[in-house]
Symmetry: C2
Subunit: 308 residues, 2 copies
């Protein structure tokens, strides 16, 4: 039996990753700092509580579970803070330590969640099309978060090749969906409109690659089950402007009247367009998304409505 250890299992991507891995036939061992979420049929056969920033805890966990596969999603994610959180250094060390312990415990294949912010968003590194290709677009994160992810994954790539372990990274673009942090774009607009309050956004001309988190998690599960190595974009392959997203939510809710696009100032220096090339994801991993923007937002709006 293929036994997978999933870190960050209570997180935004971790939650839908558990059933996606279960459906692929893995025996799923979930790990998080806390007990499993109450509302969830998690899809995990086993739930482990551990703080992976404690090196001994990581070793104890590997010894206890002896996983053949590892999907490492845990990292610091505090909204607004994670970009330059010094905890990024701790997660770099903890990730290197966990992967070493996994390999020493007989682990065969690991996938670590990376980020599209590992690419160089400044200047003209990404062309006007916004298309970002794994082994072509230059790397060059602007913040400690992206730099830490990039360094960690680059070191693991080099080490895994030497150690003969199968390793890939999934560079995650812009997921939205159930359980997203309420401060972020989709939940904040949705919840304002559901409450009958005006929702203010920037002009929102920047184009990004948004994906329903169930597809993000499904693609990561497919990547783990595949034999692809190195970086793989986990994206929809389609660009939508931030204002498109806000307008679509407003239309679904029939509350275009409450939307104030352009009320907030744009941030300086944001890349005009960032869209993942999904050739590797589709052809080498064989994953095709279930949702498009419209159906993904409809599902998400419905979930927030059920909670309001």
């Amino acid at each position: 039996v293929q036994r997978v250890l999933v870190t960050g299992a209570a997180g935004f991507i971790g939650r839908p990753a558990l059933p996606a891995l279960h459906e692929r036939g893995f025996e799923v061992h979930a790990v998080a700092r806390s007990a499993p979420p109450e509302d969830a049929d998690t899809g995990a056969e086993h739930w482990h509580c551990a703080d992976l920033l404690d090196p001994d805890a990581a070793e104890t966990l590997i010894d206890a579970t002896r996983p053949s596969h590892l999907l490492h999603l845990a990292w610091c994610t505090a909204h607004g803070q994670f970009w330059s959180d010094p905890a990024n250094l701790d997660w770099t060390g903890a990730t290197l330590h966990l992967l070493r312990a996994f390999e020493a415990g007989g682990g065969a294949r690991a996938v670590v969640a990376g980020s599209c912010t590992q690419y160089d968003w400044s200047g003209d590194a990404i062309g006007p099309s916004g298309r970002v290709v794994e082994r072509t677009t230059p790397r060059g994160a602007q913040h400690l978060y992206g730099r830490s992810k990039e360094s960690t994954i680059e070191l693991l790539d080099t080490w895994a090749a030497d150690a003969g372990m199968s390793f890939a990274s999934g560079l995650v673009f812009f997921p939205f969906g159930p359980h997203e942090k309420v401060e972020r774009l989709v939940p904040s607009v949705t919840r304002r409109l559901l409450a009958g309050e005006p929702a203010e956004t920037t002009a929102g001309r920047q184009v990004r690659d948004f994906a329903h988190v169930q597809d993000t998690a499904g693609a990561l599960a497919a990547l783990l089950a595949s034999e692809a190595t190195g970086p793989v974009n986990i994206a929809s392959g389609h660009g939508s402007s931030v204002s498109d997203v806000a307008s679509t939510i407003a239309r679904i809710l029939g509350r275009e009247d409450l939307l104030r696009i352009g009320a907030l100032p744009m941030r300086e220096g944001e890349a005009a367009s960032v869209v993942g090339d999904v050739n590797r994801m589709q052809k080498e991993v064989g994953f095709m998304p279930t949702f498009d923007l419209e159906s993904g937002l409809a599902n998400t709006v419905e979930w927030w409505r059920s909670r309001s």
Copy 2:
């Protein structure tokens, strides 16, 4: 009083770093896995035994010493093995952890030893002059060792700027001198000739920047005492071919008859010339070397003779 914690204090560069820091007025706290070397007037007021790969040990050490300054030299260095040693990942994590603990304990300024192998030695990244400049020559280590050093230092640079801590890295070129590992070029040629045995080398046409380790250590001590931040080459600024080094040793010992230059095959893909630009070291740090190649090798040969 300025109190410095020096890691790797029993190592090749650590040993001469202790008196160099003492002479600059630091209260010197040395740390190594083992007790101080028996033969040494170490220059350290205090010696601490600790394994920095144990995170708790690092924190205990910082709590006990509360250093204002840190010179971090410890890393994996097993001859022939360190290039792709998985322990490079452990030292990456341990270094990030140590620097975080140092800053949290009130530390003001840290210097971490890097390596000239962090630069990109492949293709034409280094021009025909071989001159390597800190913020101009592209980075791109070929092995896990240089990549780990580069990643660690790059993350610390970004973090330190956010945290308001003064941070620099000393990119060490090619030190030789007392206590060097016997398998390396200078000790191996010297000891063969001292024993009256033939010494075989490659054709040795590759040019490198060799420096007496006392100058390497002195420059790192000066860097720590300075306010320079970012990467600083710790080098002589002069290139010598490997065959020049071997011939100079043979001449000093009067045993040119035993030297077999060209008896061993050249390694493929070695950069023709790698010489550190020392503008930052001389002008911003204010350090001038004591030895040239001739006097440095004469000192080293004498030291090995005294031990044979």
